[in-house]
Assembly symmetry: C2
Homo-oligomer: 405 residues x 2
Amino acid sequence: MTGTTDTTRPAPLAGVKIIEISAFVAAPLGSMTLAQLGADVIRIDPLGGNIDATRWPITEEGTSIYWASLNKGKRSITLDLKSEEGQAIATELIAEAGTLITNLPARGWLSYDNLVAHRPDLVMLRLSGTHDGKPAVDYTVNAASGFPTITGSDEKPVNHALPAWDVIAGMYIANGILAAELERRSSGTGQEINLALADAMLATVGNLGYIAEIQTNGSTRGPLGNGLYGAYGQSFTTSDGREVMVAVISNRHWRSLGTATGLTDKLAMIGDLLDVDLGTEGGRFEAREAIDAVLRPWFAAHTAAESTAALAEAGVLQGEFQTFEELVRDDPQCSSANPLFSEIEQPGIGRVLAPRVPLTFHGSPAAPASPAPSLGENTDAVLAEVLGRTADDLTTLRERGILSD
Amino acid sequence: MTGTTDTTRPAPLAGVKIIEISAFVAAPLGSMTLAQLGADVIRIDPLGGNIDATRWPITEEGTSIYWASLNKGKRSITLDLKSEEGQAIATELIAEAGTLITNLPARGWLSYDNLVAHRPDLVMLRLSGTHDGKPAVDYTVNAASGFPTITGSDEKPVNHALPAWDVIAGMYIANGILAAELERRSSGTGQEINLALADAMLATVGNLGYIAEIQTNGSTRGPLGNGLYGAYGQSFTTSDGREVMVAVISNRHWRSLGTATGLTDKLAMIGDLLDVDLGTEGGRFEAREAIDAVLRPWFAAHTAAESTAALAEAGVLQGEFQTFEELVRDDPQCSSANPLFSEIEQPGIGRVLAPRVPLTFHGSPAAPASPAPSLGENTDAVLAEVLGRTADDLTTLRERGILSD
């Protein structure tokens, strides 16, 4: 590490302008990631807000914490997107910015063919459900993925609570825009990019080996509860009723687990007992039930604090399960002691801890987290600054109902 | 959509060369994503392979399907990285490539300060466990995230089977390299970038609103089984014993659900019954138990095929849960009918279906999936091509044990 961070160079995406017309998690997260890398992201919503404007969680007064969390550091404008005049203004903004991210069907005025006529080197990324145009959301994509059938302990599928496919798709969106921007700077030419949420899932399933595993070995793993596949790992209940997760990846971890628990000799017996090589990840996976049985009483006899201290000192990978409340209230990683976070004043919500992009650039640092705008907050400023609209122009647009009062 | 794809323009990252020295999921996935976008990624492993070389799943003969799936489209070289001579060759390669991705501690010869002396505009991204240098892996980061405590139906934490934090961190790695590459092309200067796996988790928890929710409302949601939070969604068992997922996001979806099931009138009664506004996502979430109770008999009286057909025709978001086996064998999305996939011949594994990057670039298309190299397959070719080593040089290096036989 260099030790010092150069704060004079602009953020990596300084000077890049992006229009977003989207809702929910994936596309807003993709463009927020680019905003956090320094891009000027202008989110255009219909008058009154898009379908996610009041999404839960909300405050007691009804402000969407969800919306605010996924739109940090953007500018927000609202237009009557059903009117030709509103569409024309949005088209002008897209042409000026040169980059568009959307999860709308991209037909008519929002089609690539129409927009590229206004901005020849346009980069436009559209998120869809499936590659062949069917609707899909995180929950339906997840059902198809196979993962719910190996999550938990029994045969009934269990959804993960994390909207993982939306988050992964959001990251792919940022990657797609960055790659196309790089390419445009060499070629001078833009392009249309498509991403299907279902394809982000399918690519991940393939990249993690599940497809080839079935094609090669004929089947895959069943549900393993909190156990790891292909290595040793398990969760245990401690004497004070907490749950801790232990993961053994390397042989060093395995030796450390024996040292920390004083169970080296008993653990070693399992090799002969089951005729497995405990010096391999696969061997430890095969012996997992016996290892569980040897370790469980040790955890049941120690508090979470005791077991955590002993395992950490020996260098075993371990972690205590915690609720979101515990994470936010007690974990120093989730506090302004972690440079990831800063306290921001979020309009309508209050003072909250907010993350910047988790990448730390030592040369051209990304800015700390900044609040989300309120809906339509930047309409006048953006139309004046980007499109040169005068105060009179804005009044006229407002009278005609293209802008909100 | 343009309809046609220009196949004459090179892939977005053509001409970019990246060295990877890493293992497991996140860093290999990050650099594989860049390889799939067109970069020339050279993975350097120690002689005999890194700690992930034989990771499960494996074939009957012991070839790692895991490794092959996470290293598609890269080149592989092996060096004695413990020797000064091996380190010097790796340093030369890093200096030539100009970009390094690693999850090693980056001390000594692999420190940024040392490497930048050999390549002044170096971009180097290092993945660590936590921002303050503690070890962490997906499983321990997940335990701390809060998500296991709301996954499944009861109070005991349930790990998701998807290594979501590793995948998300891999995507952030690709974003970090792309952003720094863009910045370098303007500034002429490289930089060091750090990413902590724990920070990728914490940023996601914050971006999804969980931190602000607790700070504002004092608490968050408990486990909801397969139910959605803040909207209506649930899984149901059909008459043929299948499980299907239903998600209602918009008011149109809600009306469609009534139409598809013929239960519009009964569903409408729930509003008065519970004094909630079923025209809002929040209202439907509050009424979820009553909605479940009205819908459950309908699913129990229909087969999965019948319910899927009825719901799809009405435009309800729904999907049948399937195993990985069913996904691979029966789902046309997971076949070469989907342009995401192609059949590749993977050495040591055989003919398998493999995904390219899920982004479809209509101007500068990313290549179809290509196989992973076998370990060390490209050692001689890379040292000759990138560093100009002659056949005699390679023989000498081999005799001294710097290269494998």
